[in-house]
Every structure is written in structure tokens, then in C-alpha cells.
């Protein structure tokens, strides 16, 4: 067992080493033949230095790191053409000593090389090939090859191999060790045939296999998915698409439990009709409880039907209707029985209502019903939004919302929520200065019908923006208070202030883009229990350059 694990580890590190060497070849290709290639080289770098001060007895609650820290994000992009092949190379590097930015001090963010002559395309490094929703919709660190000959009946073929790691540090480290993750090896193939411009169909096979547990209790999976998808446009504006997938999975639980296997099926059909004045979507989906996809996207144990209709009644009035239904327990194995969800909604948008030239009103009602043999919840959600401009300079945006949580079985769960907020903002030019004052007032109230309790949040803030275009300066300052008043539990009072200044100095003009910036913020938290009180003060200065 240990030997096989070592072999796997060796193969993996050797594989990533080969990949790295191949990617270096892309860079050399671009640099060795600058005269022959139409070459573009771009570099962007953002560096910032931050000082955080966290004080008070509850300072452990802060998500900031005390003291000085830095963050540097570098991006390199090389595009060119060599002997009829277009190539692209991307590289990214992140450096930081603040674990809240990244747990690694140095990590590669992007590493990708791509070469194509329109028929053959080879991608190395960061690879994202979307086969279909159920089959493959995750990026891998690896390689893909695509063959496509347009305007012929020769099918398009795509092959992919790699590891579904979220970051390069899972594969190899450039500094202070790798970040442990289950090694999920992915390989797949897809063939797609277009029969004319209105119809295509694809077949995919994707296998993912886990190795190297991070924790001894981790389960390892071997998953295979056989998928067919298609799209048909019978008439202009109408698209019918579908997908069906079969999956086989073997699960090896941690701690020496016996392997288990499961097989499942998923399918969906969607029709979208889109042409003014309407857009209509109809969808039906069924995913069995045992359907599994580790590198695709699916929610197990679900039967779903959906209908949406957007209708532009006039140029100023649009109506939206939607209905979503889904349920679980497709195999009848859940002891609590099946649960059905019904989510109808209706919304109307009015422009220029009551002759207001900039007035836009949105009103919507949404109902959530969750129903099974033991309980029945009805959540009624009503929202109103109104945007307008007054006196030619004062922009307003107001939201009102009301939600009634109505549990038909348990009266103890019935309560009401009311949300409201409004913002006013304006913009004035005064000589070389642009002034942008703003105010915000918001709140949230929750009331229980039975228990005499009421929780409330109030937030109010004022902001002021000052831009000096001639000096390439933009700036803003905002300060306010957010208060949570609880009938039972801790009250919280947060006072905050934030300052941003951006400056594009003349000496950075030689670069494509260049900017200096300063950001400062203050958050002061006060709780009922004073032992939790703390204050965050943070100031960041940085430089962005783009070549």
C-alpha cells in the first residue's frame, strides 16, 4: 500500500514536472523568435502593504491579521504566432505573508500554455473544457487536445487529462510545502457532431479517480459518467436542448470500511424561446438519488420542473412570471417521506411611471411552499423597488420588503420580517472638482407572532466622493453605524469609516496603466457583553502597474 502510494506520488510529481517544462517551452518559443512572431507581451502587477491594528478584549473575533503584511499579485500574458500556430502563455504568482489572504506565502495562480492552428488545439496547465453540465464543468491542472474542422461533417473531438485541484499548490509547491488535497485524477473524451447549423449532439465519457486521503476518514471515489447532450433549433429563436447521463461510482470509505457501489441516471430537457417581446423558458429535470458527478454539476435526488416567462408588454412595462417545483425522495427511501417545493413568482417593472422620466418601479411577489407529510411552510415575500432622479441631480434608490414566514403546523415558527433601505446620491462639478455626496438609511425588523420579541437592525451612513480628473485623482470617504438590537441575545453596535484614494501619477504614464492607492478603514464593535468588544483599524497603500 505504501509502495503504491509512493509510486503514485512519484508519477504525479514527475508528471507535473514534465508539464512545467512544456510550459517553459511556450515562453522560449515566444522569446526565441521575436522577429518572426507577431508577439504581444503583457505584465500586470499589484502590490499593497497593509497595517492592521486590532484591539480590545474580543479581538480574537477579527478576521484580520495584526501588524504589517503585504500582498503581491503578478500576471504575465504572452500572445504570438509561430509558423502558423497561434500561441498563448499565461502565468500568475501571488505572494503574501498574511494567512487571511492566502495560506501560502508564495503560490502560482495561473500557469497555462495554449497553441492552435484552428484545427488542432493543445492546452497545457490550467485547463477548462466544459463537456456538459453533468459530465465535466470543472477546471483541471493538466492537458487537453481538441480537433475541430469547421464547415465539414468530421466530428469535433476533445480529450482531457489532469487533476481537479483548486490551486497549483495542491500539485506542487514553490515555497513552504504543498497544500494537501485529495488527488482527483480526471480523464475524459468527447465527440461532438453537428448536423447542419441547427442541430448538434455530443457524447462524453469522464472518469475521475481519487487518491491520497488528506484525513484518514476521507472517502475516495472512482466515478465514471457516460453522457449524451444535444441542441436543436427547430425555428428561429427557439432552442431545445437536452442531456442524459449515466454514472457508476465506487466509494472506498476511510478507516477500512467496505467499498460500496452505486449507479444513477440524470436527464434534463430545456426549451428556450427568445424573441421580442417574450422570452420563455421551460425545463424538466430528473436526477436519481444515486447519480454522482464529482467534476460536473448536479443535485442528487431531485425531480424538477420550471417555467419562466418574461413579456415586454410595452417599452415601459415588462412582466415576469416564474414557477419552480421540485421534490426529493425519488426512490421512496427517506423515512420522513417526500418533500415538495413550490416557488411561484410574479414581477412587474414600470418605467416612466406617473410621467417621471427617470422613474423605474419594480414590484414583485414570491411564494415559497415547502410541504411534506409532517409540515407545511408558506413563505410570502413581497418586494418594491423605486429608482428616480429628482431636481435633475438627486438620484434615489428605495427598497421595501416584507416576508411572512407562515408554518401551518407549528405556530412557534410564524414570524414577520420587514426590510427597508433608501439611498440618495448626487454628483456636482465645481471647476476642476467633481463632488459626489451620498446618504444611506436602512433597517430590518423581525417579529415573532407568538413570542413577544422583536429583533432590529438599523444602518445609516454618509459618504462623500471627490474626484479631480485633471490630477487623475478619485477618492471617497464613508462613515456610519450598524446596530443590531435583540430581544434575547447580544446587541451589537458597529461604527465604521472607510477612506479610498486612487491616483494615477504622471510618472506612470509611460506604462499602459499605473495607479497608486491608499485605503483605510475603521470598525468599532461594541457588544452587550463588553468582553467581546474590539476595534479594527486598517490602512493599505499599494501600486498597480500594467505593461
Amino acid at each position: 500500500m505504501k509502495i503504491s502510494a509512493k509510486i503514485r506520488k512519484y508519477c504525479q510529481s514527475k508528471w507535473t514536472g514534465c508539464l512545467f517544462m512544456l510550459l517553459i517551452c511556450f515562453v522560449m518559443m515566444g522569446n526565441a523568435c521575436p522577429a518572426r512572431a507577431a508577439n504581444e507581451f503583457h505584465l500586470s502587477n499589484e502590490f499593497n502593504y497593509t497595517y492592521n491594528d486590532i484591539s480590545g478584549p474580543g479581538s480574537s473575533q477579527s478576521s484580520l491579521k495584526q501588524g504589517f503584511s503585504y500582498l503581491n499579485v503578478l500576471g504575465i500574458n504572452d500572445i504570438g504566432n509561430y509558423k502558423g500556430f497561434d500561441y498563448t502563455f499565461n502565468f500568475g504568482l501571488k505572494l503574501t505573508d498574511d494567512s487571511t489572504n492566502d495560506i501560502k506565502t508564495a503560490s502560482i495562480t495561473n500557469l497555462q500554455g495554449r497553441i492552435t492552428n484552428k484545427v488542432h488545439t493543445l492546452n497545457l496547465g490550467d485547463t477548462f473544457e466544459t463537456f456538459s453540465q453533468y459530465a465535466l464543468s470543472s477546471a483541471v491542472k493538466g492537458a487537453s487536445y481538441r480537433f475541430v474542422k469547421e464547415n465539414t461533417y468530421i466530428p469535433e473531438v476533445t480529450l482531457i487529462y489532469g487533476y481537479a485541484y483548486p490551486r497549483w499548490d495542491n500539485a506542487f509547491a514553490i515555497y513552504d510545502g504543498p497544500v494537501k488535497a485529495i488527488a482527483r485524477q480526471v480523464m475524459g473524451a468527447r465527440i461532438k457532431e453537428s448536423l447542419g447549423p441547427n442541430f448538434w449532439a455530443g457524447l462524453s465519457y469522464v472518469q475521475s479517480q481519487d487518491n491520497d486521503r488528506v484525513n484518514t476518514t476521507d472517502s475516495l471515489y472512482l466515478n465514471r459518467a457516460y453522457t449524451m447532450d444535444l441542441e436543436y433549433k427547430p425555428i428561429p429563436g427557439l432552442t431545445v436542448s437536452g442531456e442524459a447521463s449515466l454514472s457508476d461510482q465506487k466509494e472506498s470509505p476511510g478507516g477500512g470500511g467496505a467499498d460500496t457501489t452505486r449507479h444513477g441516471i440524470a436527464y434534463k430537457v430545456t426549451a428556450v424561446g427568445d424573441a421580442d417581446p417574450s422570452r420563455v423558458t421551460l425545463e424538466y429535470e430528473r436526477i436519481s438519488p444515486n447519480f454522482t458527478t464529482l467534476v460536473g454539476s448536479a443535485t442528487q435526488d431531485r425531480e424538477k420542473a420550471k417555467a419562466k416567462w418574461r413579456y415586454k408588454y410595452t417599452k415601459d412595462v415588462t412582466a415576469n412570471f416564474g414557477f419552480l417545483w421540485f421534490r426529493d425522495n425519488l426512490d421512496g427511501q427517506k423515512t420522513q417521506g417526500r418533500t415538495d417545493y413550490y416557488k411561484p413568482e410574479v414581477g412587474l417593472t414600470f418605467k416612466r411611471l406617473l410621467g417621471r422620466p427617470y422613474g423605474v418601479t419594480d414590484v414583485a411577489y414570491k411564494l415559497d411552499i415547502v410541504s411534506n407529510s409532517h409540515s407545511e411552510n408558506y413563505n410570502h415575500i413581497g418586494t418594491l423597488n423605486y429608482q428616480d432622479q429628482f431636481f435633475g441631480v438627486l438620484d434615489s434608490d428605495t427598497n421595501l420588503g416584507y416576508t411572512l414566514y407562515d408554518n401551518k403546523i407549528s405556530a412557534a415558527e410564524r414570524n414577520n420580517e420587514f426590510t427597508y433601505n433608501t439611498s440618495l446620491s448626487s454628483r456636482h462639478t465645481l471647476g476642476m472638482f467633481v463632488l459626489k455626496p451620498s446618504v444611506y438609511l436602512g433597517g430590518w425588523t423581525q417579529r415573532s407572532e407568538l413570542v413577544v420579541s422583536s429583533d432590529q437592525i438599523y444602518e445609516y451612513s454618509a459618504g462623500f466622493g471627490l474626484d479631480i480628473p485633471d490630477w487623475k485623482i478619485t477618492s471617497s470617504i464613508k462613515a456610519g453605524q450598524n446596530r443590531l438590537d435583540k430581544s434575547v441575545g447580544q446587541d451589537t453596535d458597529k461604527t465604521f469609516a472607510a477612506l479610498n484614494i486612487n491616483y494615477r501619477p504622471p510618472f506612470l504614464k509611460k506604462l499602459n496603466q499605473g495607479m497608486l492607492f491608499v485605503r483605510a478603514k475603521l470598525n468599532d464593535f461594541v457588544y452587550t457583553n463588553a468582553d467581546n468588544n474590539f476595534r479594527e483599524t486598517s490602512i493599505t497603500a499599494g501600486l498597480i502597474i500594467e505593461l
Binding site: N101, K180, L238, V269, R279, A305, T383, K494
Partner: protein
């Protein structure tokens, strides 16, 4: 009820079948409009269907194949034959002939300039001089020199700002209509998040951005702090998660999200489609949890309250008064029921049962070491508790029972408890 559900499924299925088989030219969803004799059966701009692009199209330099924009389509005529296909890039001021095939298929390519907006119209004519509805083909195409990363950062920054400000309207405007977890579910989940959390502070750094023609995969590290409105207490976490975005008319929009979620965390089973492999460092759970110890010596009884995680004398959802080694004896508060899940660990219970709960019998209840219990509380919400140890101590002449336990409380009212 079942009849209603089955009828709904059958009706929707029938509609889909009819649509897929339909060869009629009638656009049933367009009220009062009619087809011209000369029409365009399909139209693409760099392989994106005109039907799906909207009126304003932004193309990105780094995603432009060979630096060119290619318009392809096929014109059909009711009676005659298609005689010409022309493209205007400047709002019908000037026209350029497209390459036209015998069957009406046409193609036209041009190399766009950075930052310039092209007002595109397409006109096809049959040999009798009849033309298509040219106005319906109008599109404004702009070539942006912004890279994809800047669009992703812009979208994420706007989403986080809207999420911090409890603004579901702006937040949902940044979500794709095709959202894999269903847009309706995400809308409800973020509204629930806003009820559960306040003072949300969310920061991220990008780990990776990779794109193909159908989407953009994004991996990011996040760090988060918030206040739970249920208790007023703060919580923080950090981790790695992944998104898929799709580029639209107004920038990047979210197509899918994986666990650990940073948005819609109150309904992960309906919002997330997948889990990041080994990406989570310390994901925030909507569940509140901890471990406590009750020490009771007869009277007063010692109790525990799930809502605030407090231990108190003569108060709580359950209270103990005595017992012996391996099991404590006590009683439940009014309105509280429990179900014995047996000798399972609390970490392995992902869902509290819907049934099987019983209240406090006249003889009280025993809480047995190694057993995990599910509680349905008087407020209708659920809690779990695993009895880790129960010991007795006779020092001083009287018996003292010490019960150490772990607990979880689901404040959302759901029965789900993430592992």
C-alpha cells in the same frame, strides 16, 4: 395533491415534446407578430447565436479567434432564391457584401479596432428584391481590451458589495439566468442569509482563472467575518471555493457555485452544485456547535439551552439531576421532544429525523453515554447532542454527576446539519 403534482409533470413534459417536434414557423410566444417572406434561419457572431446575445455585444480581445469577428448565417426565401447578403458595420451608412453560398448560407469577417463600437445590420434579399426584417438584426458590437480577469473581479466585487449591503436585487442581477443551482433557489437563500447574518465582512484573493468558449472557471481563497442575528455573536472562517462564470451583455455572471459556499450559505443543498476537492480550510457552517459540561448534584438541576448555548441552573431545553456512571437522568422542558439516534457520532448525522420524537414521560429521561440524540425544540428548530461521558463522584458524601457532551443547533429551522 399527488394528482396535482403528476399532472404538472405531464403537462410540462408534453409542452417540451411539442416544442421539440414543432416544425411550424409560428413563433407562438410572439404575440401579434408575423414572419416576412425572406428571413434568416440562423445567425451567429463568433459562434454565439444572435438570439442569445442581446442587442449589445461586448467581445474581448484575448478571446477573439485570429483577432477577427465572423458573422455567419443562412437566409431562406419563401418562393424565390436568395440573391445577396450584405452587412453594415456603421448603422446602414455603408454595406459590405458577404460570401454567399447556393443554399443561402453566408459569412462575413472583419478585424475590429479596440474600443470602437460597430452598429451592425444584416440585409438579405431574394432574387425578386424582397428583403428580410433588417431592423431585427441590429446589434452593437464593441471590442474591449479589458482582460477576463478584470471582468471577474468587477463581478465578484459587485456581488460582495451587494451581499454586504443586504441588497438581493443587485446581487441577483449578477447571476446568470441558467444558474445551475437554479436562480430562484439562490434568490431565496441569499434573502435567508440576510436574515441570519449581519455585519458581513468578506475578502478574497483569486487563485486561478481559466476559460473556454462556454464559461470561465474561477478558484479563490476567501476570509469572512459576520454577526449571527440569532445570537448577536460573531463568527469567522476562511477557505477555498470555486465559481463558474459566463460572459454576458453586461459583463460576467455567475453560472455555478461549489461548496464551501460564500453566498447562499443557508441553503447549500439547493444552491451548490459540487464540492471543492480539499479546498476547505475551515468552512462556516450555518449550524452553531460546541461542547459543554453539566455538573449536577440533585437540586437544583443543571440544564442546557440550544439557542444560546448556555448552561444554567434549573433552566434549559434539557436538565439533569442525577444518574450513574454511563448515563445521566433528567427531564425535558415543556414543548421539547427528542429522538434517540443510537450509538452514532454527532459528526455522522447530516439530518435530524422528521419523526420519532417523544416528549418527557412522567419518569423523566436517561441520556446515555455514546448515544446521539436529536431534539425538536419548542421554537420548532432542531438540535443534536452526543453524550461523550457521564461520570459520578461521591466526594464529600453526596453524589455529583458530570455529563460532557457535544451539541449542534440549526438556527435556520432546517433539519440538515452539514458534516
Amino acid at each position: 395533491m399527488n394528482y396535482r403534482r403528476n399532472s404538472l409533470s405531464i403537462i410540462l413534459s408534453l409542452i417540451l415534446v411539442i416544442l421539440s417536434l414543432s416544425s411550424a414557423e409560428a413563433k407562438w410566444w410572439i404575440f401579434g407578430q408575423s414572419e416576412g417572406e425572406v428571413s434568416i434561419s440562423y445567425l451567429f457572431i463568433n459562434k454565439a447565436s444572435f438570439d442569445e446575445t442581446g442587442s449589445k455585444i461586448t467581445l474581448y480581445k484575448e478571446a477573439l479567434p485570429d483577432g477577427k469577428v465572423t458573422i455567419t448565417g443562412r437566409a431562406v426565401s419563401g418562393k424565390g432564391k436568395i440573391g445577396s447578403a450584405r452587412i453594415s458595420l456603421d448603422g446602414k451608412e455603408t454595406w459590405n457584401d458577404a460570401n454567399l453560398a447556393e443554399n443561402g448560407a453566408f459569412e462575413y469577417s472583419f478585424r475590429p479596432e479596440l474600443g470602437k463600437t460597430y452598429s451592425i445590420f444584416i440585409e438579405v434579399s431574394d432574387t425578386t428584391g424582397k428583403t428580410n426584417d433588417v431592423a431585427a438584426t441590429a446589434r452593437q458590437v464593441t471590442l474591449s481590451d479589458r482582460n477576463i480577469m478584470s471582468f471577474i473581479k468587477e463581478a465578484l466585487d459587485k456581488m460582495i458589495e451587494a451581499y454586504k449591503n443586504h441588497d438581493p436585487r443587485t446581487f441577483m442581477s449578477l447571476v446568470s439566468e441558467d444558474f445551475a443551482g437554479d436562480k430562484t433557489n439562490l434568490d431565496r437563500a441569499v434573502r435567508k442569509d440576510f436574515s441570519l447574518y449581519d455585519n458581513i465582512d468578506l475578502r478574497y484573493t483569486l487563485n486561478n482563472i481559466t476559460s473556454d468558449t462556454r464559461g470561465i472557471s474561477v478558484s479563490l481563497s476567501y476570509s469572512r467575518m459576520l454577526t449571527r442575528t440569532s445570537t448577536g455573536q460573531s463568527a469567522k472562517d476562511n477557505g477555498v471555493t470555486e465559481f463558474v462564470f459566463k460572459m454576458g451583455e453586461k459583463g460576467a455572471k455567475v453560472y455555478s457555485m461549489k461548496n464551501p459556499l460564500i453566498f447562499g450559505v443557508s441553503d447549500p443543498s439547493n444552491v451548490a452544485t459540487g464540492t471543492v476537492s480539499g479546498g476547505s480550510v475551515n468552512p462556516l457552517e450555518t449550524v452553531e456547535k460546541g461542547s459543554r459540561t453539566l455538573v449536577a448534584a440533585g437540586h437544583p438541576p443543571m440544564g442546557f439551552t440550544f439557542v444560546d448555548g448556555q448552561v444554567a441552573a434549573a433552566a434549559g431545553d434539557f436538565q439533569i439531576t442525577g444518574g450513574g456512571p454511563g448515563r445521566a437522568y433528567g427531564f425535558l422542558a415543556a414543548g421539547v421532544t427528542r429522538a434517540d439516534l443510537g450509538t452514532v457520532s454527532i459528526g455522522s448525522v447530516t439530518e435530524a429525523p422528521a419523526t420519532g420524537y417523544s416528549g418527557d414521560p412522567a419518569m423523566g429521561v436517561y441520556l446515555v453515554e455514546g448515544h446521539t440524540y436529536a431534539f425538536k425544540l419548542a421554537n420548532g428548530k432542531y438540535g443534536l447532542m452526543e453524550v461523550k461521558t457521564v461520570t459520578e463522584d461521591w466526594t464529600g458524601g453526596g453524589m455529583t454527576i458530570t455529563m460532557r457532551f457535544e451539541y449542534k443547533y440549526q438556527p435556520s429551522g432546517a433539519r440538515q446539519f452539514l458534516p
